[in-house]
Amino acid sequence: MINEEFASLLAAAQGGSEAAFSRLWRDVNPALLRYLRVIAPGAEEDLAAETWVQVVRGLRSFRGDEQAWRAWLFTTARRRAIDLARHRSRRPEAPLDDVAVAQLPRTEDSAEVALEHLSTAAAIALVSGLPRLQAEVILLRVVAGLDTESVARLLTKSPGAVRVAAHRGLRRLAQLTADTGVTL
């Protein structure tokens, strides 16, 4: 989260400052990718890029604080993911070849960072095992940093339903970690 600087950064980005926009992008894009990795696995990069294209188009007309900014971004990303899911259901595709994990580009050489990302990937995998609504609520609350009301608006649920889903998801996570003995 950017907090105090957000208003000035947003104004600068709306005025055409690339540095300000870069800062906003760097702040949100990782969370966006993690969220999309759960709700649209395999398409997170493309969906994030499409989300930013849409955000850039409407950047000048955006008004609001950091919560509203993040809510706008994640709402846009969620809609893109829903569109993609509809498209895939109409035209199913079978991948021709799977890229081996060993062939994936590795740019990080720090062991600590690798372990951290490994734990992040494991955490995302754990959350992905939750029911969809619970996983989304936990990601939007924890990763996106949205409050209950914003998540409720985004998911078109009542705040009470969001709270219930969050608590159930956390209980489920606790049970999963206890059952599997996962340590991150």
Partner: protein, 252 residues
């Protein structure tokens, strides 16, 4: 009886709502049974990897393409465009208004409904009918009419015939008959010219009058619509002679 290991969280009551709220808030002082969950949530919001920042160049390119133009330049371009459109709109409105006014004025001029000075101007410029005016009295310079003097004016109307170089009938022959008659009839060229100018501008046949017969006085009682300038010009025998009007008597 088998000893089945039981998860400490199997009983839902072990986790309170306050613990969950604390978890979501990122607090680490939670129940010991929830510490693994706290670790999962912390891993979810860990610092970004390089792979998660790899799309920055693409996003910046899109930003540069769509929103990278500085605000001042963009506003200037927009304001210029707006000014241009506003100006063109104003110009179009002005042109339309001017056309409306001119068209209305021309219509009024041809309907002979303008005030006399303007009607005369319209007559000069666009050939509208002559300006109406009150009947003018007999010119003060004119001598008392004697039989034969006005005979020429009597024929003025009856023998109307357009001639001359201009296409507008009201610009032809104003005063020509009178002038001619005046010269030919009784030598009252001065008055005859004046009569012709005040006449209705209907050309007449020069020389058609019968000398010595009483005239009807129509020429003298003309309504004065004729253009004095044009009539003065055309009524001038020298001018007509220069134009080669065959009806104009040659100077002797």
């Amino acid at each position: 009886m088998p000893n089945i290991p039981q998860s400490p969280l199997q009983d839902g009551s072990a986790v309170t709502d306050a613990d969950l709220v604390a978890l979501l808030a990122g607090k680490l002082d939670v129940a010991p049974g929830l510490l693994p969950v706290a670790d999962v949530l912390a891993a979810l919001s860990a610092r970004p990897s390089l792979g998660e920042l790899a799309g920055e160049a693409r996003a910046l390119a899109e930003f540069r393409r769509r929103a990278g133009v500085p605000v001042s330049r963009r506003h200037a371009r927009r304001s210029t465009a707006g000014l241009t459109s506003r100006l063109s709109a104003k110009a179009a409105a002005g042109a339309a208004a001017a056309m409306l006014v001119l068209g209305g004025a021309a219509t009024a001029a041809f309907a002979n409904m303008l005030p006399a000075p303007i009607q005369r101007l319209a007559h000069d410029v666009i050939g509208a009918p002559g300006a109406p005016s009150a009947p003018q009295p007999v010119p003060a310079r004119g001598k008392p009419t004697a039989p034969g003097q006005l005979a020429s004016h009597g024929t003025h109307k009856s023998n109307a015939k357009p001639h001359g170089t201009s296409r507008h009938p009201n610009r032809h022959g104003h005063g020509q008959p009178g002038t001619n008659q005046g010269q030919q009839g009784n030598g009252e060229g001065q008055q005859g010219t004046g009569q012709g100018q005040q006449g209705r501008g209907q050309p007449g046949q020069p020389g058609a009058g019968q000398p010595g017969q009483p005239g009807t006085g129509q020429g003298r009682q003309g309504n004065g619509r004729g253009n004095p300038h044009a009539m003065r010009q055309y009524g001038d025998p020298h001018f007509l002679w220069q134009l080669g009007d065959p009806h104009v008597p040659q100077r002797r």
